[in-house]
Symmetry: none
């Protein structure tokens, strides 16, 4: 019984999504995916005709963002974004993992290649947020600006949250940061 867990496909999907997020689609090989899932290439191809097929099935940060934006019960775009950041914070940046994140940031900062990956991830999130806002009826330009502010806020919030020693929650810092950015944007004309 159970010599092989029957959840191979699911494990493969998870592994693939992780790796795609970590280093991008085409810097991830099928063997990488299979290995992380504790399986082999053969098995991969038994479930997915193709490397691309594995993409349809996962759940990542951008999904959380999009769902939160869609579900937000508030009015102004900025507030919607703030709620989304809050959701992301609750899901991905619990206080417990703060220490881990601190070192992770240091590692990334020290490694140009990793910085690149990180930046790329940000791009995807920005696009996802902008789309989600447009779905809510926010005008195109406003959506894009709000998404951009949101992404920048996320980056800065992550910095602040990682380095903060008091117990501030990610969501709270994010909300404050967003306010500041918006104010800064308003001030660019003066």
């Amino acid at each position: 019984m159970a010599r092989w867990q029957p959840d191979a496909p699911q494990r493969l999907v998870s592994a693939a999504l992780e790796l795609f997020a970590e280093r991008g689609y085409d810097r991830t090989t099928v063997i990488d995916i299979a290995e992380r899932a504790g399986l082999t290439k053969s098995t991969f191809f038994r479930y997915f005709k193709d490397k691309r097929e594995v993409l349809f099935g996962g759940d990542t940060m951008s999904v959380v963002l999009v769902k939160a934006i869609a579900a937000a019960a508030t009015s102004t775009p900025l507030e919607v974004v703030a709620e989304a950041l809050d959701a992301v914070g609750k899901e991905f940046f619990p206080s417990a993992s703060r220490e881990f994140s601190t070192t992770r940031r240091a590692v990334i900062a020290a490694n140009p290649e990793l910085k690149e990956r990180e930046a790329l991830k940000g791009i995807g999130l920005t696009a996802a947020m902008a789309d989600a806002l447009k779905q809510r009826g926010v005008p195109d330009l406003t959506s894009r600006v709000a998404a951009e502010l949101g992404a920048l806020a996320m980056t800065i919030t992550y910095e602040r949250w990682s380095n903060s020693t008091d117990g501030d929650e990610f969501g709270d810092i994010a909300r404050r940061t967003l306010q500041q950015l918006q104010a800064a944007a308003a001030s660019t004309k003066s």
Copy 2:
């Protein structure tokens, strides 16, 4: 001189663009490109380190941006950025190359791999602008926001300029776009 002028690179770029548009980026081999340009693979790789590079060559854009920001004789950050975009437009987006840019955009949009590369370029530009603004004494957060708005403006302006059929200049579109983005940012609270 003039037997083997550097029209080879240009011919390669054109050929590549045509082929990418015709049958997609990764169904086009480097040899295909070289052949259509009447050259060989060797020559291709002499000019482009990489297959992707054929679409992203000549990246002195950030230099132009930084210089323009440093030299700007205006007051508000937004205006400084506007001047920088104007300079970039004059240098890199003359009316003559509009058609070329249109296909180039389409090709990039159709290919995740290339989109990634384009995004990376954008990140570099954003960072360069933010630094240049800080050099002028603009506060940190404001610099970052202004740079972000500038980068977004550049992207959108590029879209608009590529697709526009009337003779609008890049710089003019950029200035209008920046204004709109700033207004949009201000409106995110309402």
Copy 3:
């Protein structure tokens, strides 16, 4: 098992040898070799890191030498070396492979590049033998000379054995050769 047994490497070696003999080492491409073996370039490079490797694979010879020297139950250094050569002969030069060796030698002799590689191998063997002798308590200079004589004997023996038409065994030829070399060394003063 038994559908794709590792006869592939052997087929590749044979094909390579044939072609090298027919038209020379560097007028033979890897693809030529693979094709004659009924395989493809991929398979070739799976088994041989290098085009040259197809002639120099499986280099455990020094291991055999060292073990034999350590285990030798005889007294004089020369006799120890003789036993080592005997062991090598039994392991690597069975009568069956004599013909193969003959062509292999011819091919190598005709190609400076390959000769170099062969020489390198010889150097490694000499050093290994010298060390193994020192381990037995043989004085430094004597060890080095004995190793040198041993290596030279191996080379010459290989020549003789490859070209001999009667059924002489490698080990016997080696022993005779060693004796002669030692005598020759003694005679260098007269």
Copy 4:
């Protein structure tokens, strides 16, 4: 004036020989040669149809060895070799360059790749000496053994000469070393 020295071919030959000695024929490119000669690839091909053509013209250590062996006025093979080593010492290892050699040896010893090159060079010298001896009428086997002893003597002498602090000449050390090696060879049977 003499904007271009007229000895381009000679400079190319020298450069080529140096480089071939340093790192082997096919790890040396035509461009390397031209650069060391302060010229360009084009010029190289104007004088030599072919990379190989440049080989016919130089004078190296093995040439000195061969000449000295041919000219030796002595009787026993060992003595002939000794004279050859003496000639090499006079030509390549004057007392003045001892210090330089010491560091050179250290560098080589520390670098496996360089050790390999050095060893390779030794192979060539051995072959050259053996041939030269045979030319003198020395029997084949004796020639080869004597050459081998000579090469080993050269290596050891180089070690000793580099590290010696008193003023011993290369040739004297070489002669003593040779004697010792011959004695060691004789002792391998006891």
